[in-house]
């Protein structure tokens, strides 16, 4: 079934690339000078590759996991120095007529290495050494890929947090991740809206932090009394501030927030010393880290991110409408998708994509072509196909007898899901533009091979799940 899903997706991808790169003058789907022709070649090679993967004994993958990882790390390092500069990034290794993107294969190697690590006897995330090992395996390729200026591919590795979660990482981290995104969005989005002398974003984030703290307290404390007191306190401060502002008293809300934070910390300390509950300490840490995070957002946004990244984020948050510049892609992509309607314009009848209004339409923005030509049902259908595949992979992961198999499966799930969410999200204007491909659809051999390897190695492992190690 997984293989069928894979074939459907790859076939749809091929047809979409044909549609996306379709030229009125040059119309053969098999023409090897065209991208659809080349993609067909990649698909053929992928199938051969898949066949080979299935032929190889499953133990090879486990045994040589670190070797694969090592080779890929070396390749990544080499890429930094050897790769030519293509559109500002150095991620392509050019070998004669073909060029490869090692980052695409690094995903597979990292997944394998992680699986092997987790599969070793007595491995536990509770163990600080083991946790460190896992994090190291993930962070090393991230650093190397960032050095190639391929931030998008690097971000993919962050998705492995889902796998870590499945393997026992505290759910708090998922929650923290969500909080960080929300804080960031709110802080940036409302950073230019001023309430008095203070940016509204900061105040709003403070309010969110207070709500989170109170919520966590409510969640952890059995009787919930402390949480209720805290809420009442916040409410009182809120009412007083509102009243003062209503009567025209100039109030620096930031000072109020800092004051409330100090009071909250004091209250939590009191709670800790009376109950000696570690959880209270966790909440305290959460609050403090959140505040630090908040104050670092501005700095990070303005100093760490590059200008084009800042712009893309602002466009995605609807703060800027730079239709000729950073917003052009997304706007054109929305136009293309939006013009598709429910049933689409029909295969090869898309006008926006055909006439090259959407840049990168056969790679990162391939989803536009589907949206325009096949309409809502086609686009939603592709999403559902992916969701089905992901669920299928989760099922496969869960039926593994070994930690190795399970961890590897969840790595594949995480990576696939992240690609889907970010790629489709950016095309429909819900995420900032991050240049990562849509698995199996986007044109490009490296990406297709990378995902083929990821998937078929899993299938190979799954096929031998009952055999002894």
């Amino acid at each position: 079934m997984t293989v069928i899903l894979y074939l459907i997706l790859v076939f749809c991808g091929w047809v979409s690339i044909y549609a996306a790169s379709y030229d009125f003058d040059n119309a053969s789907i098999f023409d090897f000078a065209e991208r659809s022709g080349k993609q067909l070649m990649w698909i053929g090679l992928s199938l051969m590759l898949a066949f080979m993967i299935l032929m190889v004994d499953f133990r090879v993958y486990e045994t040589y996991a670190y070797l694969f990882y090592g080779i890929l790390i070396l390749l990544l390092i080499a890429t930094i120095f050897l790769a030519p500069d293509i559109k500002g990034s150095r991620s392509w290794l050019v070998l004669g007529p073909v060029s490869l993107q090692p980052a695409e294969f690094a995903k597979f190697a990292t997944a394998l290495a992680l699986a092997k690590t987790f599969g070793t006897y007595g491995f536990s995330l509770k163990n600080r050494r083991d946790l460190f090992k896992a994090v190291f395996i993930i962070v090393l390729p991230i650093v190397l890929i960032i050095a190639q200026k391929e931030t998008g591919s690097a971000l993919v590795f962050a998705s492995l947090i889902f796998m870590l979660y499945r393997e026992g990482l505290s759910g708090l981290f998922l929650f923290y991740g969500l909080c960080a995104i929300v804080y960031f969005v709110v802080a940036v989005k409302y950073s230019s809206l001023m309430w008095g002398t203070v940016a509204a974003g900061e105040v709003l984030v403070f309010i969110l932090i207070f709500l989170v703290v109170a919520g966590m307290l409510l969640f952890y404390q059995k009787n919930g009394r402390a949480a209720r007191y805290l809420m009442l306190g916040y409410l009182a401060v809120g009412v007083v501030c509102g009243a003062l502002l209503y009567f025209g008293v100039a109030l620096n809300l930031l000072y109020v927030c800092v004051g409330v934070t100090v009071a909250t910390v004091a209250y939590l300390l009191v709670l800790y010393f009376s109950s000696r509950s570690l959880r209270v300490l966790t909440i305290l840490a959460t609050a403090l880290v959140s505040v630090v995070f908040l104050f670092s957002v501005d700095y990070a946004f303005n100093e760490v991110l590059e200008p084009h990244q800042q712009k893309r984020i602002k466009v995605a948050l609807g703060m800027e409408e730079d239709l000729r510049g950073a917003g052009y892609n997304v706007n054109q992509s929305k136009i293309a998708i939006g013009s598709g309607g429910f049933w689409g314009k029909g295969f090869l009848n898309g006008t926006q994509t055909k006439l090259k209004y959407v840049p990168e339409q056969d790679t990162d923005f391939i989803f536009c072509t589907i949206g325009e030509e096949e309409g809502f049902w086609g686009a939603a259908g592709v999403i559902l196909l992916f969701v089905t595949l992901i669920f299928r992979l989760i099922t496969i992961g869960e039926r593994q007898h070994s930690a190795f198999g399970r961890v590897y499966a969840y790595c594949v799930v995480s990576i696939l899901f992240f690609h889907l969410a970010v790629n489709v999200g950016m095309v429909i204007g819900l995420c900032p533009v991050i240049g990562i491909p849509l698995p199996f659809f986007s044109y490009g051999g490296s990406s297709l091979w990378g995902f083929t390897i990821l998937l078929f190695v899993l299938l190979r492992i799954d096929a031998s799940r009952t055999e002894r190690h």
């Binding site: 979660y165 013009s339 006008t351 209004y357 939603a380 999403i383 989760i394 969410a421």
Partner: protein, 620 residues
């Protein structure tokens, strides 16, 4: 193991997150693709270059099928500034017949945002309009040497006769207001201005077609969309056949030369307008082509207002042409019979009030009163009606009934002719007088001059002609109109339905008889045409602007009338001096197609005469 079991549950959390994101995305897709329509329009604007195919405008014929208005091709030189490459400017100038200085001036004007607000270096701009056919030919040959320039075909109107400008109207480029009111129009389109061109714009213009071309992100044309499957061919405008007899019209304009005023001739049985002259007039070709703007300004500033269609816009005191209406009202209300006699002592005298009249027998009845145009008779008649307290409760009530009769005869309101700008004339009602004099503070004597078409009453020449047609029809009229046939369509039902007045049909016979007597032995004697029983009524309207206006109303032949006419010549004196001759010549020309030798002198006199000098308008 228990711990593992607990962790295994986390697959639901992960699955849930995947599902949630997928749902959000699908909802977003649904709102983008199905709920929101804007993106489709953006997409069309993006990718389609809709090239308009202009239809040819409908042709206009006269009642006898003579072609009056047709189309001539014209050529505009367009340019897309961004695509212009260095070229031989002097050669270009020579080809299109302009000097180097004019070239520079045109470029400057084109780029001037005040003169050309829609300027963009990316879109086609008009460099110069209406190239002559010779220049077009030469430029077409050399066009390849001037990249960025191209020629756009346009249709201009051409007129076969230099007459009937007030009827035909003309076309002009649409204004921003036109575009706002009707989104059919785009910048640079033409629309009817004045006359038939305006009132039948919807029919004449046809339907624009469109050719859908595909344009890529760089603006290059990549072919036709779906091989032209969605292209729409333009639909030519429909041809019109007017009721105008162009020869009669031309004759009328000739007779009216050097005079200010109007002629309206109607075929009584159909309400069709045979001729509608407004003088002074202009050659319709003046408002075509490159000189249009200049000429329009000139006509607009002309002190004699040639653009003002006096035939239907000017409200004049109808003078004695009003008297037949009075006779009809009095008869129908039972105020008089055909035998009622009123005295005339060189006028109507009541206390200190006196309305003058001229010498004729006294006392007299309705028919001789019409024959001699006796003022006193109608003043007595109006007094008998308004001051009749046995029949009417008050003067106001009587007066309102009087007014209703006139409205039923087409006075006081627009008749509804198919031309823009018609005036409604003026018939007062009792409120009007109440406001001036106070309620019950006025009587017949206060308003007595309305009985002879003076005072407050005003009528357009069209309304007077319509009265004539009504009398000719013995009691009904059909809304006067200019349209006779619309190609593949029917004309407005209004223009075929008879409208009966409030006066009984048989009373009209007396009035017809009276008007016949006026020609055989009364004020209209000079209008007698050999072999034709002409009926007529003169009018000499006093006015505050100087010499009396000369008016005539009549029809012929008396039985089975073919033409009813009204003539109004400003400041020309007695009705018999200009009104009757012009009116009778028109009728004679229409009925006989020639002027009898013994009446040639009359024609000559009319052609030679000049009354414009009495108009009080000083030339410069």
């Amino acid at each position: 193991m228990r711990k593992d079991y607990k962790l295994a549950k986390r697959k639901y959390v992960i699955g849930g997150i995947v599902l949630a994101i997928a749902c959000i995305y699908i909802v977003r897709l649904f709102s983008l693709q199905v709920l929101n329509d804007d993106y489709k329009q953006y997409a069309d604007g993006n990718a389609f270059l809709k090239k308009t195919q202009y239809p040819s405008r409908g042709l206009i014929y006269d009642r006898n099928g003579k072609l009056l208005v047709f189309n001539q091709p014209a050529y505009d030189v367009m340019m897309i500034v961004r695509e212009v490459r260095p070229f031989d400017t002097l050669d270009f100038c020579r080809t299109v017949g302009i000097t180097r200085e004019q070239f520079d001036k045109r470029m400057e004007d084109m780029k001037n945002p005040r003169l050309n607000p829609g300027y963009s270096s990316y879109t086609p701009q008009t460099f110069m309009t209406q190239l002559s056919a010779q220049d077009y030919g030469r430029l077409q040959e050399k066009l390849y040497r001037f990249p960025g320039f191209f020629i756009q075909n346009r249709m201009l109107r051409q007129y076969a006769y230099p007459v009937a400008a007030n009827v035909l109207g003309n076309i002009r480029e649409v204004s921003p207001r036109d575009m706002e009111k009707d989104d059919y129009y785009n910048r640079g389109d033409y629309t009817g201005d004045l006359g038939i061109e305006r009132s039948y714009e919807q029919v004449l213009r046809g339907e624009k077609g469109v050719e859908i071309l595909l344009r890529d992100a760089h603006g290059r044309i990549k072919g036709r969309y779906e091989d032209g499957r969605y292209d729409v061919a333009p639909v030519s405008g429909k041809n019109l056949k007017l009721s105008i007899d162009i020869e009669l019209q031309a004759y009328g304009e000739k007779l009216m030369q050097n005079k200010i005023g109007a002629i309206v001739a109607i075929e009584p049985s159909t309400g069709e307008i045979l001729a509608m002259v407004s003088s002074p007039t202009y050659d319709p070709s003046m408002l075509v082509g490159r000189e249009r703007g200049k000429n329009y300004l000139k006509l607009n500033r002309d002190k004699y207002k040639p653009l003002y269609d006096r035939a239907l816009m000017a409200a004049y005191p109808p003078g004695s042409t009003f008297k037949p209406t009075q006779g009809l009202i009095f008869l129908n209300e039972g105020i008089i019979t055909e035998n009622t006699l009123y005295p005339c002592y060189h006028g109507f005298v009541a206390g200190r009030l006196k309305v003058g009249c001229h010498g004729h027998a006294s006392p007299l009845s309705l028919l001789p009163a019409l024959q001699t145009s006796c003022n006193a008779f109608f003043c007595y008649g109006l007094r008998s009606m308004i001051d009749n307290r046995t029949k009417y409760k008050s003067a106001a009530e009587a007066f309102n009934i009087w007014k209703d009769y006139l409205v039923s005869m087409g006075y006081g309101y627009r008749l509804g002719i198919d031309l823009p700008g018609e005036s409604r004339g003026f018939i007062p009602n009792s409120n009007y007088y109440n406001n001036i004099y106070g309620e019950n503070r006025w009587s017949a004597l206060t308003i007595i001059s309305v009985a002879i078409g003076q005072g407050e009453v005003l009528a357009t020449p069209l309304q007077i002609a319509n009265l004539s047609a009504t009398i000719a029809n013995r009691g009904y009229y059909i809304t006067p109109h200019l349209i006779r046939e619309i190609q593949d369509s029917t004309i407005n039902a209004e223009f075929t339905t008879p409208k009966h007045t409030m006066v009984d049909s048989h009373y009209y016979d007396y009035v017809v008889e009276g008007m016949r007597m006026a020609v055989t032995g009364g004020t209209c004697r000079i209008g007698a045409i050999p072999g034709i029983e002409v009926c007529g009524k003169t009018g000499t309207a006093q006015n505050p602007h100087g010499k009396d206006h000369s008016a005539f109303m009549g029809f012929a032949p008396m039985n089975n009338p073919k033409i009813a006419i009204a003539v109004y010549v400003e400041n020309a004196g007695f009705g018999a001096t200009y009104g009757v001759p012009i009116g009778s010549l028109m009728m004679e020309m229409y009925l006989n197609r020639k002027i009898a030798p013994e009446r040639k002198y009359l024609e000559e006199r009319m052609l030679q005469s000049n009354t414009i000098i009495y108009s009080g308008v000083k030339k410069h």
